[in-house]
């Protein structure tokens, strides 16, 4: 067991820098999820921890060892790959036991350990099969077995669920978490899927273009996104962001088609007149009766029925927003709706930098 820390880690491929100085501290036994869009450098980061990619600058430490110059096998980490990386010519048993065989463990020990791992993963009956005779989910399990059997300090997962269908994916999500509760090894899980990230993480790390946008528990990140980027990335459907301007006293915002909206804590007079983005999540907006005040008026464009709830796509001036509601009122496209939100659920971001304006924190 070990914690993993990265200090000012940078990575360049030739002249292009793709990781721009990253600091992370992942505690012993924590399940950390690194989430970000495709190409933001998640895999590169993970591979630097694994030792598959050299670190250009900075320091990677596992436990109290700096591992920059250690070979992958010396780092005591195991990795589950996106396409599983199973050896096609070996049976599941041979795949899982390969590391032990290289380490020259006794036959009896290997057999016993493989069987135990197979039992944990429910693949006892598949051990004699080759990868080509296994389904996607089964391959996934074998790949996990190959990682587990080494009893490593740290597990690394690089989008391991992205090749599975939706149902299997949610099932494996639960299973990986259960496994983590059982084994309690530090785990770093990379994904571009924010649902996976929200549901699995003890600690969420949101990445964008080679930098970390925000870290925190999923709840923290959801409640107080640190930037418009995070606000748009975490939560589905994404947070509504409307351009607005801070009033002269800094205690309210005004925007196109929305009138004056008072802020609970105000933003302070020094920020008056500043251009901002007002954020509010679709699920925090409610349709209220006409004349009962509310936040703003919006014209309904169309409604999507999800069964348990509905998504109302609305226009406010030239901007669009989405309301996620469980009301089943008979509104029609073209109707004007009054929308309300608890001021505590309003977020304010600087329009230029996209950073959260802390003084008006509602969360």
């Amino acid at each position: 067991m070990a914690n993993v820390s990265m200090r000012q880690v940078r990575k360049s491929f030739g002249a292009t820098e793709v990781i721009h100085g990253i600091d992370i501290e992942i505690g012993d036994g924590e399940f950390a999820v690194i989430v970000g869009p495709s190409g933001c450098g998640k895999s590169t980061l993970l591979r630097m921890i694994a030792g598959l990619e050299a670190v250009t600058a900075g320091e990677v430490a596992i436990g109290d060892r700096v591992v920059n110059d250690l070979e992958p096998k010396e780092r005591d980490v195991a990795m589950v790959f996106q396409n599983y990386g199973l050896y096609p010519h070996m049976t599941a048993f041979q795949n899982i036991s390969y590391a032990l065989r290289i380490a020259r463990r006794s036959k009896a020990e290997i057999r016993e350990r493989v069987e135990r791992v197979a039992r944990i993963l429910g693949i006892e009956d598949l051990l004699a099969r080759k990868p080509s005779q296994l389904s996607g989910g089964q391959r996934q399990r074998v790949a996990m077995g190959r990682a587990i059997i080494r009893e490593p300090d740290v597990f690394l997962f690089d989008e391991p669920l992205s090749n599975l269908d939706a149902k299997l994916r949610s099932q494996m999500r639960v299973e990986i978490k259960r496994l983590h509760d059982e084994l309690k090894a530090t785990s770093i899980f990379v994904t571009h899927d924010q649902v996976e990230a929200m549901t699995m993480a003890d600690r969420l790390v949101v990445m964008n273009q080679g930098v970390i946008e925000q870290t925190g528990t999923p709840r923290q990140v959801y409640r107080r996104p640190g930037s418009t980027y995070v606000a748009g990335f975490i939560g589905a459907p994404a947070m509504n962001l409307l351009p607005a301007t801070l009033s002269d006293d800094g205690a309210a915002v005004e925007g196109r088609g929305m009138g004056r909206i008072a802020l609970p804590n105000g933003a302070g007079p020094d920020r008056s007149g500043r251009r901002v983005m007002l954020g509010v999540r679709p699920e925090h907006l409610a349709v209220v009766a006409d004349g009962s005040g509310g936040l703003l008026a919006a014209r309904l464009l169309y409604a999507e029925d999800l069964g348990a709830s509905r998504l109302l796509h609305c226009a406010v001036g030239e901007d669009e927003l989405i309301v996620h509601t469980q009301d089943e009122t008979g509104d029609r496209p073209g109707d004007t709706l009054r929308l309300a939100a608890d001021p505590a659920n309003l977020h304010l971001f600087d329009a230029e930098s996209g950073r959260r304006l802390e003084a008006v924190d509602g969360g």
Binding site: M79, Y98, I102, S132
Partner: protein
């Protein structure tokens, strides 16, 4: 392109048929001649109806051509070239595909352009090297004045010599390098997912273990296909063995055929010569027939 026109069908079949005839006619003649007694084979025109003398002719050819010794030589040379080429090519391709060293692409292109340089082009310098395989090393030492230095320091004259003439090494070693095989291996290695190499690294496998336990087993079909090509190539070597061997004990079958061809002051026993030819042709044909399924699969590059 799939066309369904009777005329075109007829034309293509005719072309195919003519091609087949042109290809097979000499073989048919050789076969028929090999089955005939001496009196029938010298008839003009020769009959095209096979006779019953195949076995006798073959036995005669076997003895006269010293096929026993030469057969062993041929097999040793062919297998030597085969293994040498595959070992050489797979290791070279491994280096080019999996190691990041300086001038990697240069190395690849240097190997690649030797595709255009068959043995015949470099046969004279190769012969000189074969006379003393350590000659290049010696010359390097000479150029670097190391020979003189050592002679001056210790009084010992460095004179490296490893003569390959009339040896199995001489028959095989100069033919080990193969751009074709290297290229085929490289193309195959490029199709192997990178994750496999990385998984092996994580599992603690070093480069050699990865090569022998993962890369080579996966290259099975590829190796089988190459073996077919290289077997035929090696078996059919003529010019090089002719050059490098003078000792009759070192001759190969293909060279030995020359002995069977009647010279002016002998009986023109073409039936025996043809029986010998058929026997010499047989091993490559058998190999191709037995391995053709693998051969096609390997070249198309698919498991299953």
């Amino acid at each position: 392109m799939i066309e369904r026109t009777p005329i075109l069908n007829a034309v293509t079949h005719t072309i195919l048929g003519v091609g087949l005839l042109v290809m097979c006619f000499p073989l048919v003649i050789a076969f028929v001649a090999a089955t005939l007694p001496y009196e029938a084979v010298i008839d003009v025109p020769m009959t095209l109806i096979p006779g019953g003398q195949l076995l006798e002719n073959a036995v005669k050819a076997w003895e006269r051509g010293e096929f026993a010794t030469q057969g062993v030589n041929s097999v040793i040379m062919t297998l030597g070239i085969l293994f040498g080429k595959i070992a050489c090519a797979s290791l070279t391709a491994f280096a080019i595909c999996y190691f990041n060293f300086r001038f990697r692409m240069l190395a690849f292109w240097l190997i690649f352009i030797t595709l255009m340089l068959p043995l015949e082009v470099r046969i004279v310098p190769t012969y000189e090297v074969a006379g003393n395989a350590l000659l290049p090393l010696q010359q390097l030492l000479d150029v670097l004045w190391l020979t003189d230095l050592v002679a001056w320091l210790s009084g010992v004259e460095i004179a490296l010599e490893w003569n390959l003439l009339d040896t199995y090494w001489g028959l095989t070693l100069p033919l080990f390098a193969s751009a074709t095989a290297t290229f085929l291996f490289r193309q195959f290695f490029l199709t192997i997912p990178e994750e496999l190499a990385e998984a092996a690294k994580m599992d603690g496998a070093g480069p050699l273990r990865f090569f022998f336990q993962i890369l080579l087993p996966l290259s099975k079909t590829n190796i089988a296909a190459l073996s077919v090509i290289m077997f035929v190539f090696g078996w059919n070597q003529y010019l090089w063995p002719l050059l490098i061997t003078t000792d009759p004990e070192m001759r190969t079958l293909v060279m030995g055929l020359e002995n069977l061809i009647p010279s002016e002051d002998e009986l023109p026993e073409w039936n025996v010569a043809m029986a010998g030819t058929l026997m010499v042709m047989l091993p490559p044909i058998v190999v191709v027939l037995v391995l053709q399924r693998w051969f096609v699969r390997g070249l198309l590059g698919g498991e299953k």
